[in-house]
């Protein structure tokens, strides 16, 4: 595959953010490339300089950034980011000759529920793996704001460090700790920032005991939140599928994320479970956690997402409000196949993402 400049049609997908609760009010055309600069005043001043320097001055990053049409003009003295929670720029990921991500850029605003959709093999999970440090992209940067005004470069950090910064995830095929109880699963999450060491643990020093109780308390609260309190002491592997999905979300929330990545949380769940799940995701977002969601179930995407990014063959082909994306001809052609009418039916059945 040629890796020339031809694919540099970077579409920094940015949709006006208005928080999770005011969706539907978007007025902008999804595909207008210049959207960034016209958007909310803070948006244009993201950390272009900071990001490229954090990657060690990689020239490709600079080049990619420069080519974003009408993109950011870093304002002097600005901390960057505005209300962004994460910004991926020009991510490229190849496995040998297979290009999994090809200059993907996206930005997500704090409190937003952003859905990533796309056909199988479009690179959705690869994108997640780049954001969480499981894969290291060959090019591009990921800037994350644990809190406003504190941009942090994620590329090059190990997954656990990224999790501690506040990016938690779930997996497409559930990956719980099967022989640990539901409570213990969540505890692993709630304890990640605890610092007490083996000596305190062995001697049961007060600090360790307090931390332990705090971890249990938070874990139980989270089990309450996801409706699994009655399963507290049951083994993760013995829970029904839908509950395992929710337990995985609780474990991720245990790490105290400001950005939660959900990889097909509704896969394999029944309609009732989907409704519960939508309620849960909405509740999580309402607490101020930004949610980045890979989902094939268009019903869920439409009802939850503030905005949608569409990937195909490792590129962003569209982004915008759910409704706008659904009308987009490129999306219909690449992803939905035939027409809007069949979309809801088809898309729900799409299988797993290729890896």
């Amino acid at each position: 595959m040629s890796r020339g400049g031809a694919h540099r049609a970077v579409r920094s997908c940015d949709v006006l953010s208005r928080g999770a609760l005011s969706r539907g009010a978007l007025s902008r055309g999804a595909l207008s490339r210049g959207a960034l600069s016209r958007g909310a005043p803070t948006v244009g001043v993201s950390s272009a300089g900071g990001a490229s320097s954090a990657v060690g001055g990689s020239s490709s990053v600079g080049a990619g950034t420069a080519m974003v049409p009408g993109a950011r003009r870093p304002g002097p003295g600005e901390d960057g980011g505005g209300d962004l929670v994460v910004e991926a720029r020009d991510l490229s990921l190849r496995f040998g000759g297979v290009t999994s991500l090809d200059g993907v850029s996206l930005r997500q605003h704090r409190g937003e529920i952003l859905a990533v959709i796309g056909p199988n093999g479009a690179g959705k999970t690869s994108l997640f793996n780049c954001l969480t440090g499981a894969y290291r992209p060959q090019r591009g940067s990921v800037t994350f704001w644990p809190e406003p005004g504190r941009p942090t470069q994620l590329v090059g950090r190990r997954p656990h460090a990224i999790t501690r910064l506040g990016v938690a995830r779930t997996f497409q095929n559930i990956r719980l700790f099967p022989a640990l109880s539901a409570l213990e699963n969540v505890q692993v999450g709630t304890e990640v920032r605890q610092r007490y060491g083996p000596v305190s643990a062995v001697f049961g020093l007060p600090g360790a005991r307090r931390a332990e109780q705090e971890g249990v308390r938070r874990a139980l609260d989270l089990l309450d939140l996801v409706g699994l309190r009655h399963r507290t002491h049951e083994l993760a592997a013995s829970l029904p599928y839908g509950e395992q999905r929710r337990l995985e979300i609780a474990r991720a929330l245990g790490t105290g994320p400001s950005l939660l990545l959900l990889d097909e949380p509704a896969a394999g769940t029944n309609p009732a479970e989907k409704r519960d799940l939508a309620g849960l995701i909405g509740a999580v977002a309402a607490t101020g956690v930004s949610v980045l969601l890979i989902e094939h179930d268009m019903g869920l995407v439409m009802s939850l997402a503030t905005s949608v990014v569409v990937l195909n063959f490792g590129r962003v082909i569209a982004c915008g409000t759910p409704a706008a994306v659904q009308r987009d001809p490129a999306v219909i052609e690449a992803y939905l196949g035939v027409s809007d009418a069949d979309a809801d039916a088809d898309v729900g059945d799409l299988g797993k993402d290729l890896r």
Binding site: H160, T163, F177, E212
Partner: protein, 435 residues
């Protein structure tokens, strides 16, 4: 009765008879190279073969009729089993059981011969301690360390270096009481664990096993061949016994094994309590998470590399600690630190029950007890055949070990019901493709 002789069962009968013949040959007279087949023939000819064939048929009967007998056997055992189970389930039950076990451990050496006492210290006690340490690495964190005995050697040679001017050609310019060698040896062993672990713990399963195997062999060979430093194959003589001269306490351990035994008992019980607390802490949970799904653990924020290093260092320091005790108790040479010793500790851990503190101690008692029992009965070289047989049988009928840990038992149950697969290291690998 007709079904008793179905083809499948006849095949089983053939297999058990072959097994009986094999056992007869193995336990038979030792041959010589002039007449290689003579010994084998002598083993199976004559009346000698009768008990083996009898055992083979008995084994076959148990295997074929066993399932039918299980119900009545359970019914027979019920009057004993139930009260015990109820008592154990009651509040404080486990405490009572543990105290009873402790009482047995306290009284046991008083009723056996001096040779047995020696074995209870040198073999059972030391190996119980080693197994407890390796249990942290293998049982908790799920890392297969086949060179574990190297840290034991480091502890022993450190003791010889610091506590005696004559034990090794190379010695410290001053002499330390072995008691003060403990912290030094523990630190050195932990350091060795970190130095070995830091580059290798990025590797997964099999690779780690190979690297640790190599490390164990390097230490063994250096000990054996560095004549000018370690004394080579002759070993280290004259490391002084432990003694305390502190705060008015004056006590010296000596030739008598009993004081060593009780010292070891205190240490083993202390280590068991400490590791129990560790296992139930965030650190133990992080280890369990790594063992069950390393990728998920990492994504949940567990610093996997650091936690694995911690497990490695803790295991190594226990091993180094045991090395100090071992060196001050008795004469040692590089033979004590061979690969076989490493494998033996792994066998003790797996046999007793990975991840179970009581299990690995019981494993040390049973396997080393077996070794002691066989000492006068069979050729030393043959002993490992019996160990092998015991462990193979164990893995077939009770893969979770003698006294399995709660988590390990769950993992085995899960894998038997088709959820995940408990592999040799106790990891229940989630089904489905990996991301």
């Amino acid at each position: 009765m007709r079904t008793l002789f179905s083809p499948a069962r006849l095949r089983t009968l053939g297999a058990t008879i072959l097994l009986g013949l094999l056992a007869a040959v193995v336990t038979g007279p030792t041959g010589n190279s002039d007449e290689p087949l003579r010994a084998a023939w002598d083993s199976i000819a004559g009346v000698r073969i009768v008990p083996f064939l009898g055992l083979a048929v008995a084994l076959w009967l148990v295997l074929t009729l066993g399932p039918q007998l299980r119900g009545p056997a359970a019914a027979l055992a019920e009057p004993v089993r139930r009260p015990v189970g109820v008592a154990y389930g009651r509040r404080g039950g486990p405490v009572v059981v543990n105290l009873a076990l402790l009482a047995i451990a306290v009284v046991a050496p008083l009723v056996v011969s001096t040779a047995a006492q020696q074995s209870m210290v040198n073999d059972i006690g030391i190996y119980a301690l080693l197994a407890l340490g390796l249990n942290v690495v293998v049982g908790y964190a799920g890392l297969l360390d086949l060179g574990y005995i190297a840290f034991f050697a480091i502890g022993a040679y450190t003791t010889a270096y610091f506590s005696s001017q004559s034990a090794m050609p190379w010695h410290a310019p001053f002499t330390l009481n072995p008691f003060f060698v403990f912290p030094v040896a523990v630190l050195l062993a932990a350091l060795a664990g970190v130095v070995l672990g830091a580059p290798t713990l990025r590797l997964r399963g099999d690779y780690l096993a190979i690297v640790t195997l190599g490390f164990g062999e390097i230490i063994h060979l250096v000990a054996n061949n560095a004549d000018g430093i370690t004394g080579g194959a002759r070993g280290a003589f004259g490391v002084p016994h432990l003694s305390i001269h502190l705060l008015g306490i004056d006590y010296a351990w000596g030739i008598d094994p009993l004081p060593y035994y009780y010292l070891l008992l205190v240490i083993v019980v202390g280590v068991m309590i400490a590791f129990g607390r560790l296992e139930r802490s965030r650190i133990g949970r992080a280890w369990a998470a790594i063992r069950e799904d390393e990728i998920a653990a990492e994504a949940t924020g567990v610093a996997t590399l650091r936690m694995k290093l911690l497990a490695f260092a803790i295991g190594a320091s226990v091993s180094g600690f045991a090395g100090v005790l071992f060196a001050s108790k008795q004469f040692f040479n590089p033979q004590s630190f061979s690969l076989q010793a490493s494998f033996f500790v792994v066998a003790v851990v797996i046999f007793g029950g990975m991840g179970s503190r009581l299990g690995v101690v019981v494993g040390a008692v049973v396997l080393q007890g077996l070794a002691f029992y066989l000492r006068d009965k069979v050729q030393p070289a043959d002993r490992y055949i019996y160990f092998g047989a015991v462990i193979v049988v164990m893995m077939i009928f009770r893969p979770q070990g003698l006294v399995p840990s709660r988590r390990r038992r769950r993992e085995i149950e899960l894998s038997e019901s088709g959820v995940g697969a408990a592999d040799a290291l106790g990891a229940a690998v989630p089904a489905g493709p990996r991301s």
